[in-house]
Structures are given as C-alpha cells and as structure tokens.
C-alpha cells in the first residue's frame, strides 16, 4: 500500500467520485482558483471546470442553502466550509433544512449533501476559530457526522459520504491535513461504511476510545504506557453519528475499563454519549468508573502554552489510564 497525506486522500476521494458521477460538484470559498484554502481541492477546477468547482462569496448561509436546494433537486453537492467555525452562520440551513427536509416531505425529498472542512483547534487561532463542532451536529437526528483520523479513513469515508443519500457533516482537521498514512493503491476502490468503529491498537489492560487529533496523542501515550506494562486497546469510532459501540463494548468486556479521549468540551457531545452507552452496555464488566480526557471547559486561549494545556495531552491520557487501572 502507498502512503498519502490526509489532504491528498480527501482530494482523491473527490476526484474519483466526481469522475464516477457527474452530479457531484464542489462549492465553497477559495475551492477553485486558489486551489482550496488548505489545498484539499487542488487541481479539481482544472479538471472539472467552473461548472462543477464553484468559488463562492463569503456567505456560508447562502451557499449552504444553495447546496441543499441543489441536493433536493437531484444533484450531489460537496460544500466546503473554510473551517467548521464558519458553519455557525449556516447553522439554520444545516439543522432546519438539510436535516429536516427528508422527514418533513414524508420521505419524498432526499438531501444527498456533504458539508466538509477542517474542525477543531489548529495552532493559535484563538477561541472563535478553535471550535470542535462535533457536539453541535451529533445532537441532530437527520444528520450523519463523520470525523476520520487517518488518511485511509478520510478517503474511504468521504467516498461513502458522497454516495450517501443523507446529509453528512464531515469533520476534518487542519493539523491532520499533513498526516501521512497508508491508503489503498490507485485503482483499488475502498468504501468504508458509515457507522463502523475501527480497532486501531490491540491491548488487554485498558480500552481507549478516541478520534480526530487526539487519536495521535493517544497512540503516543499508549506506547509510553506499554513501556510501563499497561497495554491499551485503542478504538476509533470514525463515525460519531450513527455511533457504533459494538467494538467498544467487546473491548471493555476484555479490559474492564475505558478512557474516552476527545478534543471537544466535556459537557455533552459524543464523548459523553459513548460513556453513557458503555456504562449501560458493559455495566457488569466495569472495574472502574469510565473516565474522559477532554478539551478543557474554557474558550480556547490564544497563548500557545495555554492552548497546549487545554487540548488533551499525553500526560492527561496516561494519568487517566493509570487511575482507571488503579496503578500508581
């Protein structure tokens, strides 16, 4: 298998799907002539032209709405938000229209649309531009929410998202775009099903559920813990809604403990949802309280030393694993 960067994997997914289906088109700020704010859409304009790669004004509510309308009449738009922070001005379009039209039309009208873009903190972009948007969108029945951690998952899941007849919120990561990882060779098509967790590391002592940027923090922490004799099993849900807990439950039955690590704030959201489900589905197997390592419950500070403290750190992950393992 070859290695690709996360942004290249996403780009390939869009190329392949636009090639396969001429109803697929990309719309957003700087996606065309500038080749994408984060170069995810590089080369798409040259290949598919201005009719299918559309630069928009800075008007998220407008182009999100145009995309939803296009989806309702049979096209398959990909809407890129320059970051998910800017989706908040299009919140009403996503929640009240994209997520509702199928139900309100009694199933007559489907909205096969993908909203995608980078999510979460980058580096010193301060409180207004560091949101982890997963809790906002996972709250909404009618939306799929996907947050891939690796290039392979990014490609396979974006392809599935584009082919899905439901509106999909696709959360990428500015700090993940440069991450390299294995992706199936050219010509080998891989569709990763929406709503399926992935076992990222096997272990016997503690289950860690994580996704997005902290995925890499956790893998590094797991190596350090392994050096101390604590073998962690790491599970990446990949899709946050619908949430697949089967693998997690199976793992917790083996390890008897679990730490959930995520970037979003601790109040509610998929992290709290996972803990809620595990305590019910694996109650008789728990040897310790379920713990979470989260982004701290504050607006993101600008100062780098403080930002590093707010995001989940290796140290906090290691401490939590040791706490639930009753190990000093």
């Amino acid at each position: 298998m070859r290695e690709l960067r996360y942004r290249e994997a996403l780009r390939e997914a869009m190329f392949e799907e636009m090639e396969r289906d001429d109803r697929v088109f990309l719309m957003g700020e700087e996606v065309g002539h500038y080749q994408g704010a984060y170069k995810v859409s590089e080369g798409l304009l040259d290949k598919y032209g201005e009719r299918r790669v559309i630069d928009t004004p800075i008007a998220e509510a407008g182009f999100a709405g145009v995309g939803i309308g296009a989806a309702m009449v049979g096209l398959r738009p990909i809407i890129e938000f320059m970051t998910w922070n800017f989706s908040f001005v299009a919140f009403d379009q996503i929640i009240s229209n994209a997520a509702k039209v199928h139900q309100m039309s009694a199933g007559e009208i489907q909205v096969p649309i993908v909203f995608r873009g980078p999510n979460g903190a980058a580096k010193q972009v301060a409180s207004q531009h560091s949101h982890s948007a997963a809790p906002f969108y996972t709250h909404i029945p009618g939306l799929y929410v996907i947050q891939p951690s690796t290039p392979r998952d990014a490609k396979g899941l974006l392809k599935s998202a584009i082919r899905s007849n439901n509106p999909v919120v696709f959360l990428e990561g500015e700090t993940l775009y440069g991450v390299q990882g294995e992706v199936p060779d050219e010509g080998v098509e891989e569709l990763i099903p929406i709503g399926q967790s992935r076992l990222a590391r096997t272990g016997t002592d503690c289950t860690i559920v994580t996704w997005g940027r902290p995925y890499y923090t956790v893998l590094a922490a797991a190596e350090k813990l392994a050096a101390e004799g604590i073998e962690c099993e790491v599970i990446d849900p990949r899709t946050l809604r619908p949430l697949d807990t089967a693998l997690m439950v199976e793992s917790v039955k083996k390890t008897n403990r679990c730490v959930v690590v995520h970037e979003h704030w601790p109040y509610g959201g998929p992290g709290a949802e996972i803990v809620d489900r595990l305590q019910r589905e694996a109650f008789d197997y728990l040897d310790a309280p379920l713990e979470r390592v989260t982004g701290l419950d504050v607006p993101m500070p600008y100062a780098l030393n403080l930002e590093d403290k707010v995001l989940p750190t290796e140290g906090r992950v290691i401490d939590a694993v040791k706490r639930v393992s009753y190990s000093k």
Binding site: N256, F283, D284, Y285, L286, D287, A288, Y326
Partner: protein, 425 residues
C-alpha cells in the same frame, strides 16, 4: 455539664428524619424520658424522648427541618450554664463536614443512641442507656461494601463473600485484582506467602445493635430453661393437605408453620399460665394470644406480631403471616406491629435444623423453637414403621413458668399436633 443532643435514629432504616414539632421550649425543664419533640421518619411520626435531665438551653434546628441521625438538634444542661463553646462546636460541625455531626461531647458518651425496638414488647420510647457508646470504626457509610460492577458480577459467579475481601481501590473499593488475589489465596496450599488480612471492620447497624442489646439483656436477666418434645407430625401434614385441597379453589395455601402457630395458640388457651409476662413485682397473665413470629431479614431479624392467633382460622393466619413477613423483609413494619406479643415462635426447620434453643423475647414468658421434619423409623406397637417426626423446644422464663407448667403446655401442644381435630374442641 451541658451537652449537645443529636437526632436519634428512631427506626432501623431511618436515614433522615423531619423534626415535625418541638414539644419542649427553650428554658423548659427536661426529665429523663420526657417527650422533647416529634420526628417523622420513613415509617411513622415517632417520639423523640430525652435521655437527660436538665434544662433545654438551646434549640438548634427549627421545626420542619429534615436531618440525618446524630445531627445536633439541641443543647441540654443546667439553667444559666454557659454554652458558647458548644455553640461554636456545633457551628464548626455544620460548616465543616456536613452530615458528620458531632456525636460526642464528653469522652465515651454518645449523646443519643439507637432507640429502636426491633422486636416485641418494648415501648418505642424506651432506649439504650445514656452511657452506651457506639464504636464508630466505620469503613464505609452504612456498612456498604464498595466494589466495582465487575467485582459484584465475579463475586456472584464465583460465590465469593465480598465482606471478606479487602479492597485496594479508592476508599477501599474492591476491584478485580483484589478478587483475583483472593481467589488465589483461597486455593489452600497453593497460596504460599498469601497476605494474611486483618478483620474487615464494619459499623454495626442500628438494628444489629438493638438485637445485641436486647438479646444480651434477655439472656443475662431471664433465667432460661428448655423443654424439648418429639412429635409425630404426619397427622398435621395430612391435615394441611386436606385443608389445602379445600383452599385450592380460592387459590390459597397454608404452610405447616401456619398450622403450628394455630396449634400453639390453642395450647396457650389450654395452659394459659405460659401466656404470661414477668413485670418485676407483678405477673401479667395475658388474655389475648398475640404471637411474635421471628422473621429473618437482611442483616438481622424482626418479630412481627400476629394478633389473636387463637381466634383466627389457619387460612387467615397464613395470609397475615405472609403479609407481615413480607413487610418485615421490606422493613415496612410499624413499631406497633412489632411490639406487645405474648409468646414467640421461631422456625429454622427450612435450614434442616433438627432442634435448637431460642432466646426469649422479654417480657414474653416463652419462645417455641421449631425444627425440621425428620423421616425416620419409629417403633409403634413393637414394630418398626416409617415415621415423620418433628422436635419442638420451648425456652421458658423460670420466674413465671415452672418446669411442670411448661411441660404441661408441651404435652397439650403435642396432643393437638398429633390429633389436629383437637383444635376444634
């Protein structure tokens, strides 16, 4: 010297009580056993009586307040005494640890202790002596064993008594590795070098303390003696079958124990000297037959009273006993339902116990201990035949029931059991 009075635990399951009304006012004289206040518990509104003599110097909580046991509610002392130190102590307690109220004002003196009648015949207001101090070597609040859900499942599966496993988790929580090492250490010789654990210290519940106090009192002050009789139980078992056949239409059933209660009640009518209580300078010969039934409950036992057992049919006895026992197990009995029995019956037959001697439940004069049914050969008219036998042992208070009187009762009881038609006479 003035002392802080805490809210007493007025029922075995009382976790909090509402101070409904103060009967005494600040400045009132208080004598031992005077009604201080009324407290509503999970069961009923109970009397909160004083264990001390003096003047009610200060009321610390207003009416309507809901409190945990032992929370300071008043200060009693001599008129005009300076109580500023005690008030400061109370303020500190309230500000400090919340429910962990001050329970001791003088070394070794719990201001108020459990006043719970677990069993019959003790008026609700009678309580432990003032000086009874309760060792508070608490491990977990309420004696609860802290353990993880996994450990509770493993304990069920492996039949491990968690009370003997020492927990190594936070607050002594028993976690998986503790059960695993306990498993290893319980495999006899394999456990070389296994840790020898000290006893697990659990707080005695209020019910347990009351049982301890009352039974010690009984065994120390009541001169017990015991009469055992062996009875052919086949006729009563046959009677039971016949009765149950009749009751089948109504969907009811009586147990052998219900018939034994009835037989004992009839026998008490025939030998009424046994249905009596030693009351110090008087003997009370009871004119009713109220039978206390010993019921095992979680962490202890209770003795609900079946009133007028002599006048009730066995179907009604069966209904009432089942209902009382159920509520005893749910700790739903009112104090009235547990007091003023005249005779007790305790049955351990279901555990295969052949015979045993029970401790009298004062001021009742006697208790009948019921064993299991034994199928064994008996000699009848010079031939060995299969027999169904049962042994009954009555513990008697010799102050009121002499040997011959007790024996007379046992003989009457045997006659009734061996010929149940006797009950109709």
């Amino acid at each position: 010297m003035a002392k802080i009075i805490g809210l007493p635990k007025l029922s075995p399951t009382m976790e909090e009580g509402t101070l409904v009304a103060w009967v005494k006012k600040e400045g009132d004289e208080v004598d031992v056993d005077d009604l201080l206040a009324e407290v509503e518990t999970d069961k009923a509104t109970m009397e909160f009586r004083s264990f001390d003599r003096g003047v009610l110097l200060k009321i610390l909580v207003p009416e309507g307040e809901t409190l945990e046991p032992d929370v300071p509610v008043a200060i009693i002392g001599k008129a005009g005494e300076d109580i500023s130190d005690l008030l400061a102590q109370v303020a500190e307690t309230v500000a400090g640890s919340g429910s962990e109220a001050v329970t001791e004002t003088e070394a070794g003196t719990a201001p108020v202790s459990a006043a719970v009648p677990v069993s019959a015949s003790v008026p609700a207001s009678v309580s432990a002596p003032v000086s009874e101090s309760v060792p508070e070597a608490v491990t977990t609040p309420g004696g609860r064993i802290l353990s993880s859900p996994l450990v509770r499942r493993l304990a069920r599966e492996r039949s491990i008594d968690l009370s003997v496993v020492r927990g190594s988790g936070p607050q002594g929580r028993i976690v998986k590795r503790d059960v695993d090492s306990y498993d290893a250490s319980s495999v006899g010789f394999a456990a070389v070098g296994a840790e020898r654990l000290p006893p697990r210290v659990a707080k005695a519940s209020s019910m347990r303390r009351t049982i301890a106090r009352r039974l010690t009192e009984s065994k120390q002050t009541v001169p017990h003696y015991y009469l055992t009789i062996d009875v052919d139980i086949a006729p009563l078992a046959e009677a039971r079958q016949a009765i149950n056949a009749e009751l089948e239409v109504a969907g009811k059933k009586v147990s052998l124990n219900d018939l034994i209660i009835k037989a004992a009640a009839v026998a008490l009518r025939r030998v009424p000297e046994v249905n009596a209580s030693w009351m110090g300078k008087e003997i009370h010969f009871h004119q009713v037959v109220d039978i206390s039934i010993a019921v095992a409950v979680d962490e202890g036992l209770m003795t609900p009273v079946l009133r007028d057992a002599d006048r009730k049919g066995v179907a009604q006895i069966a209904d009432e006993v089942r209902e009382l026992a159920g509520r005893a197990r749910d700790k739903q009995l009112t104090p009235e339902e547990m007091t003023n029995g005249t005779f007790s019956i305790s049955n351990l037959g279901m555990f295969g116990i052949e015979e045993f001697t029970a401790v009298i439940n004062p001021p009742e004069g006697a208790i009948l201990a019921v064993g299991t049914i034994r199928n064994e050969p008996v000699v009848e008219d010079g031939a060995i035949v299969p027999g169904r036998r049962m042994r009954f042992t009555m513990s008697c208070d010799h102050r009121i029931i002499d040997g011959a009187t007790g024996a007379k009762f046992m003989a009457a009881f045997k006659r009734i059991v061996e010929s149940p038609l006797n009950m109709l006479i």
